[in-house]
Symmetry: C2
C-alpha cells in the first residue's frame, strides 16, 4: 500500500548510496492532477534544515506538483551550499518532469550536518533514474524514506463517495510535538482546493502528530505534505474529508509510536476532567516527558507518585490532592492518596494506558509516548543520528 | 565536616529501620542560638509532600529552632494521616528540646506514597534517642539524609571576620530546577536576621540549585533550610555573606551533579552572547533536557546538531544560523555550519564543557546536567523510588 493507491499519483524509490547499508534512500512522488492542490505543515523548530527552507519558499511561489525525499542525510546546518543542494535537487526533478523548480518540494532526513558535495552528487545525478522508475502502482517509495525505522508506515482510507487518501511516513526518533522526526506524504484523489486542504491538515496534525511525544525532542527536518490530484473527479465534503484525514494521521501516529527507537511500551496518557483541552494536553505532555516516569514503565513499575510529581510542575487548573491515577484500568491513586495496591496492576503488555482524572472540568486529551529503555540510550549513544 | 562546624549547632543521625539496608535514616539539627534566624526555600512543585506542608505552616508561625529529616520514605501523597505524621514528628522533637512544635521543621525523602503507621512509629518513637545523640561535634547527620547518593555531601566556608557557613546535602535523582530532589541544611554562626537570610538564600538558590538540571524532573519534597545561630558574635556583611553562601551552594550543586544517578559525564552547558540572562538560562536548559543530546554525550559523541535542534525549540532571541557551538574547547559548529571535524574533540573525560555562543548580546548562564546512561535507566526502572 503506498501513495499511488490514490489516483493521479506516481511514485518511486531507489538506492543511490546515501545510506551506508545500500538500502533505498531517494524517493519521488508526482501529482499528475488533473486538479492539483496541496498543503504542508513544517517543523515548529526554529533551527530548520535547508530542504525546509527550500520547500517553504517553493510553497509561497507555486502549488507543488512533486516532492523529492531522501534519507541518509538531513542537509541541516550545511550552510549556503546545503540550500543550493536542495535547489539543485528541485531543478533536476523539474527538468525531467517538465515543471518549474518551485513546483518541486524537497525533504531530507538523517544526520544533521550531512550534506557535502558527495551527498549532493548522489542525489542530483540520480534524479533522472528516479523519474524513469515512476509508477502509478508503486511499492518502492515508502522504504526509501526510512531511517532507523524497522518497518514501513502506510495509511489508507477509501470513502463511499469514491475518493481515497493514501500515505507513507517515517519516524523512529526525535518524536515530539510540533511534529516528530517525521516525513509524511499524504495523497488524495478527492477534488479539493488549497484552503480546504490546509484547514484539514492543521486540524489533523493537532490531533495526531502533535500529540505524539515519544522523547520530547523536536526535529529540524519535519514535513507533512498533503497533495490532492482530483483524479477521482469527486468533490469531497470538507468535514468528512477532514475526519478521514485525521483518522489516517492518527493511525500513522500510532505506527510511529509502535516503532519508536528502543521502546518496549507504547504508552497512551489519557487526561480527563480537565478545565480545558489545553490543560489536558499540558498535563499529558508533562508526564510523557518525565524520564523517571518513562524509566519506571520500562521496569513495569506503575509508579503513580512520579505521575503526580510530573503534573505538579504544570500550570494546569487542578488540585493535586483531588487527582485519581489509574494504570491499565487499575486505580492506584485516589484523591492524591494510595488506592489499590500496585501489585494489582500488570504492566507487562506493550500497550500501556495511564488515566489521569484531574476532576477540574469536562475536557480531555491523549498524549502518545514510549518508555525510556536501555535500547533507546544505546541507539542514541552508540550511533550518530 | 558537618553542620556543627558552625558554632551554636548540634546534630545527630541514627538508623531507625526506614531504610531496608539498615543504614542511618533519621537526622536532627538544632539551632542553640543565641540569635536564631532562618530562611527556607521549598520545591516549586505544586504536588507537595506532607513535610513540606508542615514546614511551610511552621515557618509562617515561628522562627525554626530545629529540623528533623528522614530518608527511606517521602511521606508524600499519604493523605491527612501523612500530615499528622509530620506534625507528630515535630511535636516529639519539640517535647524533648523544650520548644514549640511550630519551631521544628520536618523533611522527608524517599518513595512517594510511603508513610504508613510503621513509618510513623519508627520516626516518632525514636526521636528521644535521636535527641540524646545530639553533639556539637557531629559526623553522623550527613549520612542519615542520603538516598541513592553514593557519597555524603558537605559544604564549608570560614570568613576572615570570624563567621562560618557549614552544610549537608543529599541529591542523586530528580535533579531539576525549582530545586532538585534535594534536602539541604545550611548553618551559619554569623549574626543575621531573617530578612537578610531570605535574600541571600534566594540569590544563592537561583545561581546554584536552580541551574542544576540533571534529569528534568522536579521533586515533591525539596527543601533548602538556612539556619543562623549568631554564636560567632559577628554580624556578617550582607553582600559578603550572600557571596559566600552562593559559593557554598554552588559547590554543593557540583557535588550533586557529580553523584547524579547513573551519570558518566558531568556536563556544564555555558551559554554566552545572550540578549539577557533569562534567554541564556532557557537555552542551556533546553539542551540539558534533550534526551538525544544527553545520550550522545554518554556515547562520547559531540553531536552539535542535537544542540542546535534543542535550542531551536526555545523562544530566546538569536539566529540559529549565527550560533557557534564548542565541545571541550573545540569549535565544531561556526555560524550554524560545520567547523572543525568532530574527531578533534575528546569527550572521554567525565567533565564535559559545552559552549554555546548565541551572538545576540552580552549575557551568560551555565546549566549543570548529566548524560543519559544505561545505568540511569537501570536505577530508575529496576527499583521504585
Amino acid at each position: 500500500m503506498t501513495v499511488t493507491k490514490a489516483a493521479g499519483f506516481r511514485s518511486a524509490g531507489i538506492a543511490v548510496g546515501l545510506k551506508s547499508t545500500g538500502k533505498p534512500d531517494l524517493a519521488l512522488v508526482v501529482n499528475d492532477g488533473p486538479h492539483p492542490a496541496a498543503a504542508v505543515v513544517f517543523t515548529g523548530n526554529r533551527a530548520q534544515a535547508n530542504p525546509i527552507l527550500w520547500s517553504k519558499q517553493a510553497m509561497r511561489a507555486r502549488t507543488p506538483r512533486a516532492i523529492v525525499l531522501n534519507s541518509g542525510g538531513a542537509n541541516c546546518f550545511t550552510g549556503d551550499f546545503g540550500f543550493e543542494t536542495s535547489r539543485l535537487t528541485a531543478e533536476a526533478a523539474a527538468a525531467e518532469l517538465g515543471l518549474e523548480a518551485s513546483e518541486v518540494l524537497v525533504c531530507s532526513t538523517g544526520l544533521i550536518g550531512t550534506g557535502d558535495q558527495a551527498f549532493r552528487d548522489k542525489i542530483v545525478t540520480n534524479v533522472p533514474t528516479l523519474v524513469r522508475q515512476l509508477s502509478d502502482d508503486d511499492e518502492t517509495a515508502a522504504a526509501a524514506i526510512l531511517t532507523t525505522d524497522s518497518v514501513e508506515k502506510n495509511g489508507f482510507f477509501e470513502s463511499e463517495a469514491g475518493w481515497r487518501i493514501a500515505a507513507i511516513a517515517k519516524g523512529a526518533g526525535m518524536l515530539a510535538p510540533g511534529l516528530a522526526t517525521m516525513l509524511v506524504v499524504i495523497t488524495t484523489d478527492a477534488v479539493m482546493n488549497n484552503e480546504s486542504l490546509a484547514r484539514a491538515l492543521a486540524t489533523g496534525s493537532e490531533l495526531s502528530f502533535n500529540r505524539l511525544d515519544s522523547d520530547g525532542c523536536m526535529s529540524t527536518n519535519d514535513q507533512v505534505t498533503l497533495l490532492a490530484s482530483g483524479a477521482s473527479g469527486v468533490e469531497a465534503d470538507e468535514v468528512q474529508f477532514a475526519e478521514a484525514l485525521t483518522e489516517v494521521m492518527r493511525d500513522l501516529a500510532k505506527q510511529l509510536q509502535a516503532d519508536a527507537e528502543g521502546a518496549t511500551h507504547d504508552i497512551d496518557i489519557e487526561v480527563v476532567g480537565a478545565a480545558d483541552e489545553q490543560d489536558a494536553e499540558e498535563v499529558g505532555r508533562a508526564v510523557a516527558r518525565n524520564n523517571l516516569f518513562k524509566a519506571a514503565i520500562f521496569g513495569n513499575d506503575p509508579n503513580w507518585g512520579r505521575v503526580l510529581a510530573a503534573i505538579g510542575t504544570t500550570k494546569a487548573d487542578f488540585d493535586p490532592y483531588k487527582v485519581d491515577v489509574s494504570f491499565n484500568g487499575v486505580r492506584l491513586c485516589s484523591e492524591g492518596a494510595p488506592d489499590r495496591p500496585v501489585d494489582d496492576c500488570d504492566l507487562t503488555p506493550r500497550n500501556t494506558h495511564v488515566l489521569i482524572d484531574l476532576k477540574a472540568g469536562e475536557h480531555t486529551a491523549t498524549i502518545l509516548t514510549n518508555d525510556l529503555t536501555h535500547e533507546y540510550v544505546h541507539e542514541n549513544s552508540a550511533y550518530s543520528s
